[in-house]
């Protein structure tokens, strides 16, 4: 790059710089006004006591942070986020890999299967929430109907209204939504898998499980890490589907940090406190993204070298 640039005459370089600045200024203005500025304001909001109305809110130092770390509901919500992250990462990875492997050598109908399995990922969250709350409906819902039909009626419950099942019911919905996306990523990675290696392994009379574990997985590890990053980082800021299906209820049972921050800021008018919790979400998700990104880069560099 540098070599190319130095060969250009000064006039050209100046013309490039001028056009470059003209091309980026509109973007920078937008991002500064609607992203940079409110992001900095966030830090300010977290050290004042703002209720959304008062003109000159008092400076309270770290009081919001102290309140946050001693608020048992924050810890409870964070616990739910961790459940969400662990199950909501592992299950779609597993299902996505199974789908991809099932589809790998399928020719006929492959297009239909892909579309069907991936479609939930592009559905709007509200539509997903509505359809699934019907499935979970205590009276008419398919889930309870099936349970009653197969003689497991004692398991039937109001899945979203029962505090001990609400979070998991929403989580199942989220897993259903994400698996097809993971499948799509794996399918594109599987295209690069060395088929000769697979055939050699097949000739050595290895089982399917052995082939997947020893041949396929090592070749798609960077993709594995990438998908983990996406689902894991998203797990801290999960909001839409929980808010739509349970609003964090019943009685805070399915609250995650996102819904708790939202409720505080926009329903209880604890603007500053809500902002502080939102900053906690940020502080948790950024390091995870950076670390996993590093691992992924290292792996893909090693992969290229091999």
């Amino acid at each position: 790059m540098a070599a190319v640039r130095s060969t250009l005459p000064k006039v050209t370089r100046r013309a490039q710089a001028r056009l470059g600045i003209i091309f980026t200024i509109p973007l920078l203005v937008l991002v500064i006004v609607f992203f940079g500025f409110p992001l900095l304001s966030s830090l300010y909001y977290s050290v004042i006591a703002y209720d959304g109305v008062t003109a000159n809110p008092a400076f309270v130092g770290l009081a919001n942070y102290v309140q946050m770390f001693t608020d048992s509901e924050v810890w409870h919500a964070l616990g739910n986020n961790l459940i969400w992250i662990v199950i909501g990462t592992i299950a779609p990875l597993f299902l996505g890999l199974v789908f991809a492997l099932l589809l790998w050598s399928v020719k006929r109908g492959s297009r239909f299967y892909r579309l069907a399995l991936f479609f939930p990922y592009v559905m709007p969250g509200v539509a997903i929430g509505i359809a699934w709350s019907w499935i979970y409906d205590p009276l008419y819902g398919w889930l309870n109907t099936i349970l009653r039909d197969i003689g497991l009626g004692f398991l039937a419950t109001g899945w979203l209204g029962n505090p001990s099942t609400a979070l998991y019911a929403v989580l199942v919905t989220a897993i259903w939504g994400a698996s097809g996306f993971v499948m799509l990523i794996f399918l594109s990675a599987l295209q690069n898998v060395d088929m000769e290696l697979m055939d050699a392994a097949r000739l050595d009379r290895t089982s399917v499980a052995q082939r997947v574990w020893h041949v396929v997985l090592p070749q798609i590890t960077p993709v594995f890490i990438m998908v983990t990053t996406v689902t894991l980082v998203g797990g801290f800021s999960v909001f839409d589907i929980v808010f739509i299906m349970t609003s964090g209820g019943p009685d805070n049972a399915s609250d995650v940090l996102g819904t708790y921050a939202f409720t505080n800021a926009f329903q209880l008018n604890n603007i500053s406190y809500g902002t502080t919790i939102a900053l906690l979400i940020t502080a948790l998700s950024i390091p995870c993204a950076v670390i996993l990104n590093r691992i992924q880069r290292r792996l893909s560099i090693e992969g290229q070298g091999a």
Binding site: Q16, L30, F37, L39, P124, L184, I281
Partner: protein, 297 residues
């Protein structure tokens, strides 16, 4: 960045098979694969089927048997949702929110992506990392102060204001995406165009831009779906309800005291139809957009 070029899986089979003789065992294997895939596909489409079935039920049938599949047929629910439910207005608002913001994202990120890839200027990498920071920072980090900032600017509860916010949430990815496309183009193209007497603008407009059209269309489809489906931005920044899009319109519907399931299903269907259409017509671009969407950061 190299991962950027990973192609979207084409919707046809990825590996050539058939060079091996098909044994009975493989045939059995194939049948069980298809059985598993058909069951899974039906399971994954079930909520969609449920929505369609309930949307076309008659009023009486919904009351006694809301989720029984295709037991009656009427357009009553659709008519209801469209007129009494105001989903005709919501549809218009959704269009007015997603089309302008998508257009803005495409314009800004194509220009800036080109500059970040091929037009060196002082402070360029700082500017780029600042924009890319938006990929790393969740919307939560700044949405609450943004609410009060919008109120102060008089942009709260206005369509242009929310269009700008929607564009801001999508533009870091768009810039990153377009920059990768422009970086992949060979430098010789630029040099020969310059020798032919093209100005820097002409190099961009006549030579480079036509070559990244596939990228622009993938980004367009991706951004459109993201903004169409967006829930948090309109629910926060359009609190008045006069410019409610489909997503928050549906949410309003289910937060009501008495939920009328039939029209609700019809309204959900109205929300989904454009998504299904875009998804089916532009499946290659959708796959490409979402796969690179995952590689961001």
């Amino acid at each position: 960045m190299t991962a950027m070029t990973s192609r979207a899986p084409s919707m046809t089979s990825a590996r050539p098979s058939g060079y091996r003789k098909t044994s009975r065992r493989e045939r059995g294997n194939r049948i069980s694969r298809h059985t598993a895939l058909i069951i899974l596909s039906l399971l994954w489409l079930a909520p969609m089927i449920l929505i369609i079935s309930t949307a076309f039920k008659t009023r009486e049938d919904v009351q006694v048997n809301p989720f029984g599949l295709f037991t009656s047929f009427s357009f009553q629910n659709l008519v209801n949702a469209w007129t009494e439910g105001h989903f005709n207005d919501y549809l218009l608002n959704s269009v007015l929110l997603s089309i302008p913001s998508t257009a803005l994202v495409l314009i800004l990120s194509t220009f800036a992506g080109y500059a970040f890839a091929r037009l060196p200027f002082f402070g360029r990498s700082v500017a780029f990392y600042f924009v890319i920071l938006g990929l790393l920072v969740p919307f939560f980090a700044y949405m609450i102060p943004l609410y009060f900032q919008m109120r102060g600017m008089g942009l709260l509860d206005t369509l242009p204001g929310v269009d700008l916010v929607l564009a801001t949430t999508s533009v870091p990815f768009g810039t990153f995406f377009m920059r990768a496309f422009f970086s992949d183009l060979p430098g010789e193209l630029e040099q020969s165009a310059r020798i032919d007497g093209c100005s820097e603008w002409q190099i961009f407009w006549r030579v480079m831009l036509p070559l990244v059209r596939p990228g622009i269309s993938a980004l367009g489809v991706f951004t459109f779906l993201q903004t169409w489906n967006n829930f948090l931005v309109p629910i926060l920044f359009l609190p008045g309800g006069s410019f409610r899009p489909l997503t928050t319109g549906l949410f309003q519907f289910i937060s009501g005291r008495q939920i009328d399931i039939g029209p609700l299903a019809a309204a959900t269907l109205i929300t989904l139809i454009p998504v299904v259409a875009v998804f089916l017509i532009m499946q290659r671009q959708v796959a490409e957009g979402f796969i690179s969407g995952a590689i961001k950061g």
